[in-house]
Symmetry: C2
Subunit: 183 residues, 2 copies
């Protein structure tokens, strides 16, 4: 799973929590959903302001990212850990050091047994020229942090394994020509 | 994002589509959500049977995985691409070659502008001894396939970057002892 530091303003103070349960969920307009346990501090800020951020740290930020996941904003001030900036919503704190920050406006919540799903429209994406190639995010430059459970390990991305929407088309042509043994 | 082949029985025939927009969404009972565009063939089977699978391919399955993403089950029979098996639900086709298969019972759908979110309870997880360490899934052995957009590249996992719920605790102790310069 991709790892994000989810930012919100709780009682006016910037707070960040480490989240691995998140995914894009709508194509147009672009939306992102994240699932948080009901006991967390962050949801308070998301509801107060109707906004949140998903800030994607790189590998160099591994320890501080894990730290944000082990201490609660209820007892620890995490607002001074990072250089912050704000965008359109004015209430979704974002992290200057993160290569990619998605700023979201809350559009819907879905109540589940132990968690709540927060669905946000991505109103802006913040990055820097040095993380882009031809104007688009380049994952090799972004160097995102990944998490697997239940072995609880962080990883970087490894070797490129192929090209999406290309390698399958090559196989489709082979099947159509009758030169693929898969089917 | 992690890549899964989502399986369903559409009009009684096993079908698989490639999905990157999925995430765990509830802790207890364990639930998984996936977001599908409304035009797809797979949702028909999910609704017909109230079940689906999330089958996680490894790097060696990259091309066939991409193929399942570029051809629709409406025009192409994908039921013979893999050796299949069924579990508790009897209606969620799973793939013998995938190192990890999650079998899900549909519990809720959430309508979004262009997509629908299918939330399923994970009723069983299928793997093999050779993919486990101490009885738990070992991501190094599973060798999962990752996708990034919009650069549309598949990746493997790379070097381990740290230990979750451990590295942050080390930092917390340093901060409490006053030996950390981060705050």
């Amino acid at each position: 799973m991709p790892i994000a530091l989810v930012g919100s303003l709780v009682d006016g103070r910037a707070n960040f929590m480490t989240v691995g349960w998140l995914s894009r969920v709508n194509y147009q307009p672009p939306m992102l959903a994240l699932s948080l346990n009901k006991a967390h501090h962050t949801p308070k800020g998301i509801i107060q302001n109707g906004s949140f951020s998903a800030c994607f740290p790189n590998l160099a930020m591994e320890q501080i990212t894990d730290y944000c996941g082990v201490v609660s904003g209820e007892t620890t001030d995490k607002s001074k850990l990072f250089e912050l900036f704000y965008g359109e919503t004015k209430t979704a704190p974002m992290i200057a050091d993160c290569p990619l920050n998605l700023e979201c406006r809350l559009v819907q919540t879905v109540e589940l047994p132990t968690n709540v799903l927060y669905i946000g429209e991505i109103v802006a994406a913040w990055s820097e020229e040095r993380f882009l190639t031809d104007g688009k995010p380049d994952m090799r430059k972004i160097d995102p942090l990944l998490l697997t459970m239940p072995d609880n390990r962080y990883w970087g991305i490894g070797a490129q394994a192929g090209d999406a929407w290309k390698d399958g088309i090559i196989m489709k042509k082979r099947i159509e020509e009758g030169t693929d043994a898969s089917v």
